[in-house]
Symmetry: C2
Subunit: 226 residues, 2 copies
Amino acid sequence: MSPRIVELRRGVLEKNDQIAASLRDRFGTAGVRVANWVSSPGTGKTALLERLLVRAQQQGVRAAVLVGDCATDNDARRLAATGAPVRQIVTEGMCHLEADMVTSHIDALEAGGTHLAGLDLLVLENVGNLVCPTSYDLGEGLRVALLSVTEGEDKPLKYPALFASADVVVLTKVDIAEAVEFDSAAAASAIAAVAPGRPVVATSARTGVGVAELLSLLVGPGQPGP
Amino acid sequence: MSPRIVELRRGVLEKNDQIAASLRDRFGTAGVRVANWVSSPGTGKTALLERLLVRAQQQGVRAAVLVGDCATDNDARRLAATGAPVRQIVTEGMCHLEADMVTSHIDALEAGGTHLAGLDLLVLENVGNLVCPTSYDLGEGLRVALLSVTEGEDKPLKYPALFASADVVVLTKVDIAEAVEFDSAAAASAIAAVAPGRPVVATSARTGVGVAELLSLLVGPGQPGP
C-alpha cells in the first residue's frame, strides 16, 4: 500500500476506535454483554446463532442480533424466525462491519422499542471474512473467532491476527468432523500456537452440542434464568 | 468510506488495472492460460489444485501455481509436493492478491528457470476471501469462483460481485454433499441468478470427480497431450 493510503487508513481506524469506545461505554451503562462473531463465509455462524437464540429464550436470557452481510437480508430473516430482535446491516459490498454502522443500527433497534438496557446479550454477526473485520473494534466485550471442521486445521496459522485477537474460539459443524476427516489435535495445536489459553468450544448447530456452554461463556457466570 | 478514501482507492485500483493489463499482454505473448481462483477460506482450493496438478501432469499439461496467503507457506509446500513449479505469495495480512505481487513473483519464477512460454496453465490461487479479491484484476483470462457444499447455498446471492464476475463456478467437496444436506437445486438457482449461463463444475478433491472437466475448461479445447 502507498504511504498515503496507509496514513488515511490509520485515520479511518482511529475514528472507528473512537466510535467503538463510545459504544463500549454505552454497552457498559446498559449492562449488556456484546460479542463480535468473526469467521469465514460458510462457517455456520447463522445456523449456530439460531440454535443459541432458542437456547437463550429457554434460559430466560434476553438476546438480540445485528447481522452484517454484503448483500441480502437472508440471515436476518432466518434469525428473526426465532422471535429475537434482529436487524440486518447490509454493507453494500464492504467486507466488514464498522463501529458507526453498529451505532446507527442500535439507534434503530432502540427507536423500535428494543432497548439495550433490556437485553442480556447482543451478538454482532460480522461479514464472513477472516481478515478485514479483525482491524475494526465494534465496542464488543468478547471477540469470538469461529472455525468449521470443514475449513482446514491450519486456518489459525494462516489468519493469525484474527485468532490472536479472539477471546473465545468456536469450532462449528463438529457433527461432520469424522466425515471430513477433521484432525482435532492439529486444530488444537494451531489454535494454541496463536491464541494460547483461549477457551475453545466445540459446537454443532445440527445436534446442539456445545450451545449451552457457548451461551454460558458469552453471558458469563451472572447470567439470569434457571 | 470517506470521499478521500474512495478517491485514493480508485487510484489504487486504476494503477492495479494498468499493471494487470501488462500482465495480460505478457500472458498472451507467452501463450499461457491464466486462471484466478477466488473463494472463502476453507473452500478447498488447495486440495483441488493438488488433484488438478497431478491430472495435468498425466495429460502432459504444463501447469504452475502462485498461491496467496496472509501468512505461512503451508499451501506452497503442499502443492510443490506434486512436482509442479509453485511460489507462495505471503501478503502479510493483506486480504487479496494485487497485480504487482503477481508480476514480481512471475519475475522470480522466470529467474528460477520456469518460463511462462513453457507453461500451458498458470493458476493464481487468491487469498481466501469472497469480497476484496473481486476488485483486483490480476491479468487472468478466466476468473474461477469456488463454493463448497458446506458453505450454504445462498453464498452467490450474498457475494454477488464475485460470482457475477466469474467465468466459471466450481462446486467443491461434493462427496460430502449428502452428509451436509446440500440443496443442489437451491445452489444452482442462486448461481443462475447472479451468474446466468456460466459453466458450473461439480468437483471433489477426495474422489477426483470433476477434475478432468475443470482442467479441460481451464486449458481449453486446444489443450496438449492425449
